[in-house]
Symmetry: C2
DNA sequence: TGCAGACTGGGGGATCTGCCCCATGGTGCC
DNA sequence: GGCACCATGGGGCAGATCCCCCAGTCTGCA
């Protein structure tokens, strides 16, 4: 079983988090008897993908909110280039949409940044050997929270335009379609999300994590 | 100079960040020759204040986005109970409003979570001995970014209502004033923020950090 | 082959917004 | 006292919204 040390890549936009994770992974006896070798670190989604392509590591430790590319995108891209890499996501966000997206995309491990680290330390060895573990915190969310409505492509695009402050007319010009069509998409959105105005739509979208709030900040 | 080891309290809502910071502070030679003694950790603003009252540490290492109470509130409360405690804030948010609030509240150190840790490690000893250091990244923001306009009380209240999805009519009913007055406040807000619609207003407010996005999530 | 669903587009109308006009009080400041 | 500023409230109006109605095309699926 111990024919070699496992190796890993850490991706998080905060240097302090990377340092903490690196320490924990490398420390002999904490997770693995000999520690886990950290091959590289990445501060944004694109370089995370690049590092995975280069090193094809046993493990990719991933944050969801990163510049350039976020959780799910990085996950599927990493899988494309390195099928054997186990992908474990650490996140501070508990929005249902994000969590279910990650689980459906086939993430191997999902842990909350807020909760205690011990669960993460305990489960990681099993994940490296092929098991899968979704933190109880997220399992509860997936069970309890009603699945948010499925948005079509155009609806999602429209929603993002609305969230960045565009009016119907501007969106119509941007997409090269009629105002009435944009109006239709917006109306469908509001029906699905059970709101009755743009301000409510925005408030709801932010709370549900239907869009990526990181890129705004 | 080395009559005793410095001690500190760490406040951050993410256990991994706390672990990383604890490691760095305690490691002899990295920041202090003998390391810094971590007296306690806190996962939210209220317990952070409680721990400061109990231990009156030399240093409070603080995150801005925490449950129960955020950066500036914790800072001023900590000062009230322990005037000698040096308060150093680590943040991932670069919104001008937040940064200038912290600086004006008299924070002793301000560093970005995203940037390299070495600056933090290098400057902390000086801060413990009475110096003050605002990361260049934030200094640049303070200089370059025009100070966001000063909002009146009613304007700020109105803004928060708008951001939580209320219409003019709902806000008027909530405040017990006329729709026209709400309209007036909203119009003033939009003039000050140089936008021309509620969606733009929300997008701008989120980007500028004029309001607290943490309580939404 | 049909059929559901997404995307497209238009008509119409009640309502709300965005922004101009106006006026009345209160407060703080020189 | 005058002046600036805030908060209050009203009239009015062009334009945008919210939400009905309608219909065509195209794609994927049973």
């Amino acid at each position: 079983m111990n024919e070699q040390r496992y190796n890993a890549i850490i991706a998080d936009d905060h240097a302090i988090v990377r340092a903490g994770l690196k320490d924990a992974l490398e420390k002999p006896g904490l997770i693995e008897p000999d520690g886990i070798c950290v091959l590289a670190e990445a501060g944004d989604g694109l370089s995370a993908i690049a590092e995975v392509r280069k090193h094809r590591p046993d493990l990719l430790l991933l944050d969801v909110s990163m510049p350039m590319a976020g959780g799910v995108e990085v996950l599927v891209e990493a899988r494309r280039w390195s099928k054997e890499t186990r992908v474990v996501v650490l996140t501070g966000i508990s929005a249902v949409g994000l969590v279910s997206d990650l689980v459906e995309a086939g993430v191997d491990g999902l842990f909350s940044k807020a909760s205690d680290n011990s669960e993460f330390y305990r489960k990681l060895p099993g994940i490296l050997r092929g098991q899968r573990h979704i933190s109880e915190h997220f399992q509860k969310i997936l069970e309890e929270t009603p699945r948010p409505p499925v948005l079509t492509d155009r609806e999602r695009q429209t929603l993002n335009m609305i969230l960045s402050g565009r009016s119907n007319k501007e969106i119509a010009e941007g997409f090269g379609i009629s105002i009435k069509t944009v109006d239709k998409h917006r109306t469908s959105l509001m029906q699905k999300l059970k709101v009755h105005s743009v301000p409510q739509l925005i408030a709801r979208a932010l709370k549900e994590g239907l869009i990526d709030p990181s890129k705004e900040l």
